[in-house]
C-alpha cells in the first residue's frame, strides 16, 4: 500500500513524531511505499539540525534523517509553517536576509501543495498529531 504521512507536532513535547517515525519504519519494513512524509504546524521543528538532545536520549531529528537516507524518503517541511517557526534552508535564509540556515539533512522545504499531492497519490494519508 502507498502511505502518505503527516506530522503535525514537534519533537519531544509530543509523542506524535515518535509514533509517525515508528509507523513509517514499520510500514517500510513490511514492504509498503511511503509517498512522502510532510511536516506541518509545529511538526516543522522535526527538521532543524540544531537540535541537540542529551546523549542518552533518542535523537528524533537525526533518526528521521537516517530513515530518509536508508529508504530515499521524501521528507518535506511546509514553507509557510517553517517561516513562522524559524526553520530555513539556504535559499530561504538568503531570500529573507537571515545569517544562517538550519534545515537538517534529509529534509527539504516546499509548499503545502506537496501535502495535497501526497493525499492524491497515497492510498492512505495518515495524520499524526493531537
Amino acid at each position: 500500500m502507498k502511505f502518505g504521512i503527516l506530522v503535525n507536532e514537534g519533537p519531544y513535547t509530543h509523542e506524535a513524531s515518535d509514533t509517525a517515525y515508528q509507523f513509517t519504519k514499520a510500514a517500510l519494513e513490511k514492504g509498503h511505499e511511503i509517498v512522502r512524509v510532510f511536516f506541518y504546524h509545529d511538526g516543522v521543528n522535526n527538521g532543524t539540525r540544531l537540535t541537540t538532545p542529551p546523549q542518552d536520549e533518542r535523537n528524533i531529528v537525526k533518526r528521521w534523517g537516517e530513515l530518509a537516507d536508508q529508504h530515499k524518503l521524501d521528507m518535506v517541511v511546509c514553507v509557510a509553517a517553517a517561516q513562522r517557526r524559524g526553520i530555513v534552508d539556504t535559499d530561504e535564509a538568503k531570500r529573507h536576509g537571515k545569517d544562517a540556515d538550519n534545515i537538517a539533512p534529509g529534509f527539504h522545504i516546499s509548499g503545502l501543495g506537496q501535502l495535497i499531492d501526497a493525499g492524491i497519490k497515497a492510498d492512505r494519508l495518515v495524520v499524526f498529531g493531537d
Partner: protein, 133 residues
C-alpha cells in the same frame, strides 16, 4: 493567502479526490485552525473536491462577532466567508457540538449544513482523504 497559491494549481494528473477537513479546535489559543484554513485554500487551488466539518470546539471557528483585539492576534474568521469564491461550499457542523455550546445555526458567519454525529461518521466514510486539525 500565500505566494505558493499563485505558483501552484490544477489537479495533479487530473486526479480529483474527496478531501474532508475536520476542524475540532477553537480558533484561537492554538494555531491549528488558522493553518488548517491555509491547507483548505491550497487544496481548492489544486481543484480537489473539498468539504469542511466543524466538531467540538471547532464550531467556534465560524461563530459570528469574533473580536481578537485584546489578544493581539489576527481575526481570520472573514476567510471562511471567502471560501465560496474558491468553490469550497460544503460546510458541515455537528449538531451535538453546537447544542452543547448553546449555539444555533444563526450564530454562524457562513451557511452550513447541520448534521448529527452519525451523519458525520457517514460523511467521513464517503471521503478519500481526511485531515484532522
Amino acid at each position: 493567502m500565500t505566494d505558493e497559491m499563485m505558483e501552484e494549481g490544477g489537479a495533479p494528473g487530473g486526479v480529483v479526490k474527496k478531501f474532508l477537513y475536520v476542524n475540532r479546535k477553537a480558533p484561537y489559543g492554538t494555531i491549528y485552525a488558522l493553518e488548517s484554513l491555509e491547507v483548505v485554500l491550497i487544496s481548492a487551488a489544486f481543484e480537489q473536491d473539498v468539504s469542511l466539518a466543524f466538531l467540538d470546539d471547532g464550531v467556534y471557528q465560524i461563530v459570528k462577532g469574533q473580536d481578537t483585539k485584546s489578544v493581539g492576534v489576527k481575526n481570520f474568521s472573514p476567510t471562511y466567508r471567502a471560501l465560496e469564491g474558491y468553490d469550497v461550499e460544503k460546510l458541515y457542523v455537528e449538531k451535538e457540538s453546537l447544542e452543547a455550546r448553546g449555539l444555533t445555526e444563526e450564530d454562524l458567519i457562513v451557511p452550513v449544513q447541520v448534521i448529527s454525529t452519525e451523519e458525520i461518521a457517514d460523511l467521513m466514510e464517503s471521503h478519500d482523504v481526511i485531515l484532522s486539525f
